[in-house]
């Protein structure tokens, strides 16, 4: 059975990627998981400089989901390269670095720096974080902003460029198209849904940042729909995520059109999920006689629903 997939020039041994911000810098899990068995690790979102992020409370649980407003606490790109990458290389991890900027120039600068670093395999352009005021989502919410960031980054890097799209838009497929037109090697989606929870006893928001991003199983049906729409609109690979918590969920995204999938929130619940996902996908492929996982991508059959009697 062949689980490998291709994202631009990057070949992943399997389609399972740890989602950005949900796996620390990867090294945190090295004790529990052989990081080289993951398709890839999307790093925590990195700015040029270190950031403190938002005061706690930073997360709150909601029905089948969670809100987060971490605020991109991070060590900055230089310490990432100096302190984390060497260990990730040693552990054999495939590294997709998730980059965040407040301005277009910052994205370009980050791309430049990371392109020279050994062990970086792709760049995920975070133009979709709902938790910071500057930059980010303001690019990701428009076709122009998306086009501009992607084309600027493409000019300075040989690495595969993967803009990460926000679901907080009217037409995500048109944003994916803008990314493709700008030369993106793939798109990844969805980032979190802008959301809010209020403590009725105190009448205050439950998050210090007032609003945060919703992730987890709750959002899965919306994310699957968006992946399906993007797959029908662009030719570049789509990396799907949003609430994946089992092999069946991962397969649902793949069948909807995702070439690879990311797992975020479910990793918090089960850090050992990766081998279960692999086993479940392999079992499915065996049962259905699927030799290459790539053959499943976008295989959803919308034409042949068994026809019920239709109104005359």
């Amino acid at each position: 059975m062949d689980l490998s997939v291709e994202i631009g020039t990057l070949r992943l041994s399997n389609p399972l990627i740890a989602a950005s911000g949900c796996y620390g810098y990867g090294v945190e899990y090295a004790d529990a998981v052989d990081l080289s068995t993951l398709g890839a690790i999307a790093s925590k979102g990195l700015f040029l400089a270190p950031r403190e992020g938002h005061p706690p409370p930073r997360i709150v649980e909601t029905p089948s989901g969670m809100l987060n407003a971490i605020g991109l606490q991070g060590i900055g790109v230089h310490r990432y390269i100096a302190e984390k990458l060497p260990e990730l290389r040693r552990l054999g991890a495939t590294n997709i670095v998730n980059i965040c900027g407040s301005t277009l120039d910052e994205y370009v600068e980050l791309a430049r720096i990371l392109s020279d670093a050994e062990g970086v395999h792709a760049l995920e352009i975070n133009i979709s974080c709902p938790n910071i005021k500057e930059g980010g989502i303001t690019f990701g919410c428009s076709m122009h902003g998306t086009f501009d960031v992607v084309s600027a980054v493409k000019k300075v890097t040989h690495l595969p460029v993967i803009p990460k799209l926000t679901p907080n838009v009217t037409d995500v497929a048109s944003i994916a198209k803008a990314a493709e037109d700008a030369g993106a090697d793939a798109v990844s989606l969805v980032n979190t849904f802008l959301a809010m929870a209020i403590d009725v006893e105190t009448r205050r928001p439950k998050l210090s940042n007032i609003v945060g991003g919703l992730s987890g199983p709750a959002i899965r049906p919306i994310a699957v729909r968006m992946v399906y729409e993007c797959r029908r609109t662009v030719k570049i690979p789509v990396i799907g995520m949003g609430g994946i918590a089992s092999a069946v969920d991962a397969l649902e995204f793949i069948i909807a059109g995702a070439t690879a999938v990311q797992v975020g929130t479910a990793n918090f619940v089960d850090p050992f999920i990766w081998s279960k996902l692999t086993a479940g996908i392999e079992d499915y492929m065996r049962r259905h006689g699927v030799r290459r996982i790539a053959d499943l991508v976008g295989s959803v059959d919308t034409s042949t629903r068994e026809k019920e009697w239709v109104s005359s």
Binding site: E61, S64, V269
Partner: protein
């Protein structure tokens, strides 16, 4: 290395309308646990509730010499603690651990003074055993809302732990906060002392303050909302002092839950 065990409930003892002690068949985790470490538990089939919740390991449960599992001391405040309260023998609870930075037990001549507020008693059973092995003289300052919520007194007493009790309503021990008898004792003692504290953050802040006043070292175990317990989510951060009077956020699931009290920056500074 943490493990994830689908642990059977061996016993569930209700101590009061809100408190229970639940014993879980997770011997692999129990055997590896050091005092002050925690597990992340989840007791559910569907995805609501979704996230695990952190609980200190209360006791290492043995049958003869064999480790059978671990127990948790739980106070019912929401959905998961309600599930733990209602659980019956034979139920299965998913248990991930051991996790976090443990207490550092002192040896004589230093004395160990444990300060517990309410369910903050939880890490002190295992710590007591580690201290006894080292032969350290131990005291437990234990405060609760009311006398009926002071648990396991015989357990500690039978192990030679000196008990100093206090309740907010005065129904048992001294009336008032647990930090009052602590401060008085510090004033009177001439021994070398290490303070260990666990309880509400306001209590930890007060303990740190008192400890600082008497230049006594203190280790405090903090409770922050934890999404993963393994360093993945950055939800559990707490501000610590940096050189140069600056502060920064560290993850309390990795750098803690036990911190040197003087490293922490408190809300009211």
């Amino acid at each position: 290395m943490p493990r994830d065990v689908e642990a059977r409930v061996l016993q569930n003892t209700r101590l009061s309308p809100d408190y229970n002690v639940i014993t879980l068949a997770a011997p692999e985790i129990a055997a590896a646990t050091r005092p002050g470490q925690f597990v992340m538990v989840r007791s559910s089939h569907g995805s609501d509730p979704l996230l695990r919740r952190p609980f200190s390991v209360f006791e290492i449960v043995r049958s003869g010499n064999r480790i059978e599992g671990l127990s948790l001391l739980s106070k019912r405040i929401g959905v998961t603690t309600r599930l733990l309260f209602d659980a019956v023998e034979g139920d299965v609870i998913s248990c991930l651990g051991p996790l976090g930075r443990p207490f550092d037990p002192v040896s004589p001549p230093s004395e160990a003074w444990m300060v517990a507020g309410g369910v903050g008693l939880a890490p002190f059973a295992t710590l007591t055993e580690a201290l006894l092995e080292r032969g350290a003289k131990t005291t437990l300052f234990y405060g609760a809302r009311t006398g009926a919520e002071l648990f396991y007194l015989d357990w500690f007493a039978s192990r030679g732990v000196r008990l100093v009790l206090s309740t907010e309503d005065g129904s048992k021990g001294e009336r008032g906060r647990v930090t009052l008898p602590l401060e008085q004792a510090l004033r009177e003692t001439s021994s070398e002392v290490m303070i260990y504290a666990c309880g509400p953050e306001r209590m930890l802040e007060a303990v740190s303050h008192v400890a600082g006043k008497f230049k006594t070292p203190a280790q405090v175990s903090v409770e922050r909302v934890m999404g993963c317990g393994m360093g993945g989510c950055y939800s559990c951060v707490i501000p610590v002092r940096e050189a140069g009077g600056r502060h920064h956020y560290v993850r309390s699931c990795l750098a803690g839950p036990v911190f040197t009290a003087s490293d922490l920056v408190w809300d009211h500074e």
